[in-house]
C-alpha cells in the first residue's frame, strides 16, 4: 500500500500542475499557521500554557491508543479498526469495576484511592487484553492468508460488534464516570495545571516507556520485531509467530484499556461509540508519526493532541475534525511513511 502511495506521490510532485498544487497547499498551511500564531500572540502566554497542558494530556491518551494501531499494523499489516472500541470498552469495564474495588465519589481526591485505582487499572488492562486476543483468534487468524481486504473488512465488523455490545450494555447516552482524581492544581505563569493533567501525562508516559523498553529488550519484543520483518524466517528461528501475534494484540489492548480508563478519569464521561472518533484520531496519529513505528505513534499522538487543543482553544472547534483529517490526507499524499517513517532498506 505504501509503495503505491509513494508512486502516486512522485507522479503528483512531478507533474507541472502538481507543482502548482504543492505550492498552493504549502501556502494554505502557512496561512493557517500564521493566523493561529497571531491569535496565540494576541491571547497572551498564560492562556497558551493552559492550552498546551490540555493538549499534552489529550495527546498522551491519543498516543496510548495509537500505539495499539501501529503495533498491530507493524506486525501483520492490518489496520485494526476495532482498536478504538477496545479503548471505549476499557473505560466501560473500569467504570463497572470501580464500585467493586470500593471506589465511589465519597473517596474522591483522597490518598485512599491510589491502591484500588491501581487494581482497577490492572484488571481492566488484563480483561481488554484477553478480549483482544480472543478477537484475533476468532476473527483475524483464520484470515491470515486471505487477501488483505478480508481481515480489514472483518476489523470494521468487529468494531460494529463491540459498539453494539456496549450500546446494549450502557445504552445510547453519555455514561457518567466518577470524578475521583483531585480537582486541585498548581498555578504556573497564570495557567492552572491540574493534578488530573499531571496524572494523565505521568501514567501514559510510564506505560509508553515500559512498552518501549519491553519491545527493545525482552525476548518477546525481539520475536515481535522479527515477526514484523519476515514471518517464515521468524518461524525458522524457533519462534511461534501465532503466539507472538497474539501477544501483540494483548499489549495493544492493554494500552487501549489503560487509555480508556484514563479518559474516563479525566473527562468523567464516556459514550458507547466514543471509540469511533477517538479511534480515527488515534489512527491519524499513528499514520502521522509513521505507521508501524512505535516512537512515531507516541509523537503523532502528542502532535494530534496539541493540534486539537490549539484549534479548539483559538479557532472554531467545529472545524477541529476537518483539520485533523486534512492532516491525515496531507500526510498520505506528501509523506506516506509519516514523520518518522519505517526504515525499510531494499531486500
Amino acid at each position: 500500500m505504501v509503495g503505491s502511495l509513494k508512486q502516486a506521490r512522485i507522479a503528483f510532485v512531478e507533474a507541472p500542475i502538481g507543482r502548482l498544487v504543492n505550492l498552493l497547499v504549502i501556502l494554505a498551511v502557512l496561512y493557517v499557521i500564521f493566523i493561529l500564531a497571531m491569535k496565540v500572540v494576541g491571547q497572551g502566554p498564560s492562556y497558551f500554557l493552559q492550552i498546551l497542558t490540555f493538549g499534552v494530556a489529550n495527546g498522551a491518551i491519543y498516543a496510548l491508543v495509537a500505539l495499539g494501531y501501529t503495533m498491530v499494523y507493524g506486525i501483520i499489516e492490518l489496520i485494526n479498526f476495532a482498536h478504538g472500541d477496545l479503548f471505549t470498552l476499557g473505560g466501560f469495564i473500569s467504570v463497572f469495576l470501580l464500585p467493586i474495588f470500593g471506589l465511589d465519589a465519597s473517596k474522591a481526591g483522597t490518598a485512599g484511592i491510589i491502591l484500588p485505582l491501581l487494581a482497577v487499572f490492572i484488571v481492566t488492562m488484563l480483561i481488554c487484553g484477553a478480549i483482544n486476543v480472543s478477537i484475533e483468534r476468532v476473527a483475524y487468524r483464520p484470515l491470515r492468508r486471505a487477501p488483505r481486504l478480508a481481515p480489514l473488512i472483518t476489523a470494521v465488523g468487529m468494531s460494529f460488534v463491540l459498539e453494539g455490545v456496549m450500546f446494549l450494555w450502557k445504552g445510547p447516552f453519555n455514561v457518567p464516570y466518577p470524578n475521583l482524581l483531585p480537582t486541585t492544581g498548581f498555578v504556573i505563569g497564570g495557567a492552572t495545571i491540574g493534578v488530573k493533567d499531571i496524572f494523565v501525562i505521568v501514567v501514559a508516559g510510564i506505560l509508553m516507556v515500559v512498552l518501549a523498553l519491553f519491545v527493545s529488550r525482552s525476548r518477546l519484543g525481539k520475536a515481535m520485531r522479527a515477526t514484523a520483518q519476515d514471518q517464515d524466517a521468524t518461524e525458522l528461528m524457533g519462534i511461534d509467530i501465532n503466539r507472538t501475534i497474539a501477544a501483540t494484540f494483548f499489549i495493544g489492548a492493554v494500552l487501549a484499556g489503560a487509555g480508556g480508563t484514563i479518559f474516563g478519569l479525566y473527562y468523567n464521561t464516556m459514550v458507547f461509540d466514543l471509540g469511533f472518533s477517538a479511534g480515527l484520531f488515534a489512527f491519524t496519529a499513528a499514520v502521522f508519526g509513521g505507521i508501524g513505528n512505535i516512537q512515531g505513534a507516541a509523537l503523532g499522538g502528542l502532535l494530534i493532541g496539541l493540534i486539537t487543543a490549539l484549534w479548539d482553544g483559538y479557532m472554531e472547534s467545529t472545524w477541529t475534525q476537518v483539520i485533523i483529517f486534512a492532516i491525515l490526507i496531507l500526510v498520505l499524499v506528501f509523506r506516506p511513511t509519516g514523520l518518522l517513517g519505517m526504515r525499510v532498506p531494499e531486500k
Binding site: R225, D230, L236, G238, K347
Partner: protein, 236 residues
Amino acid sequence: MGLLDVAGINVFYGRVQALRGVSLSINPGEIVALIGSNGAGKTTTLRTISGLNHATTGRVVFDGRDITAVPAHDVVRAGIGHAPEGRRLFPRMIVFDNLMMGTYARKDRAGIPADVARVYDLFPRLKERTKQLAGTLSGGEQQMLAIGRALMARPKLLMLDEPSLGLAPILCETIFRVLTEINAQGTPILLVEQNASKALDIAHRAYVLETGSIVQTGTGKELLSSPDVQRAYLGM
C-alpha cells in the same frame, strides 16, 4: 536408519501436487545434494522437512523422532537449521542481531560467544560488518549471514536452499569452500542447488528431483558422470 529419513511424502499447494512420494535420507557426516530444475520441488522438500509446509501423506523422521506434523518453530529445536530460499534475513536488524535471532531456540546460552566467533571465523566479512543493517549487505554477504544465522542454532543438520543463487563466481567458490569446512567440522548438510556441477562436486550423495519425484540417486561422482544428468543439468 539415517539421521533424517523422508519417506514417500506427498505435498499439495491447494489442488496442485508439488511433491509425489519423495523419499530421501541423510546419514551423519554427509553432504547430500538435491538438484533439479526450477519448480521441480526442491524448495518444497526443504520447507516440508522444516515444517513450513506439511505433507498430506508420508513421514519425516529426524533423529528418531517423527516430525511430519511438527510446526516449524519446534523443528528448529529438534535440531534442523534451515537457511531458506532468498536468504530471508531480518533486513532492519544489524548483522550481529540477525545472528542472535538464530540462537533464539537455544538452551545453552553459555556456548553462544564461541559460536559467534566460529561464524566470524568462517566468514570474516561478517565480522567487519557486524554493526551494519542486514538489508544493506551485498548478496554474497547476505548469503553468508543466512548460513551463519542457521549455524547459530547449533543444528544437527544444516539445510541450505540455493546458497549460490545470484552470486559472482568467486563468491560461489567461497561459499562452497566454507560448506565443506562446516561439514568437516561435523555438521551434515542437505544442499539444494541449481548449480549442479558445484553441488555434485562437494556432495557425498545426491538426488535428482523432476516435477515432484526423485528420478535418480547416487554418489556425487556417479551423478556427475551420468549421461542423463550431464545432458539435463550440466549442459554437456
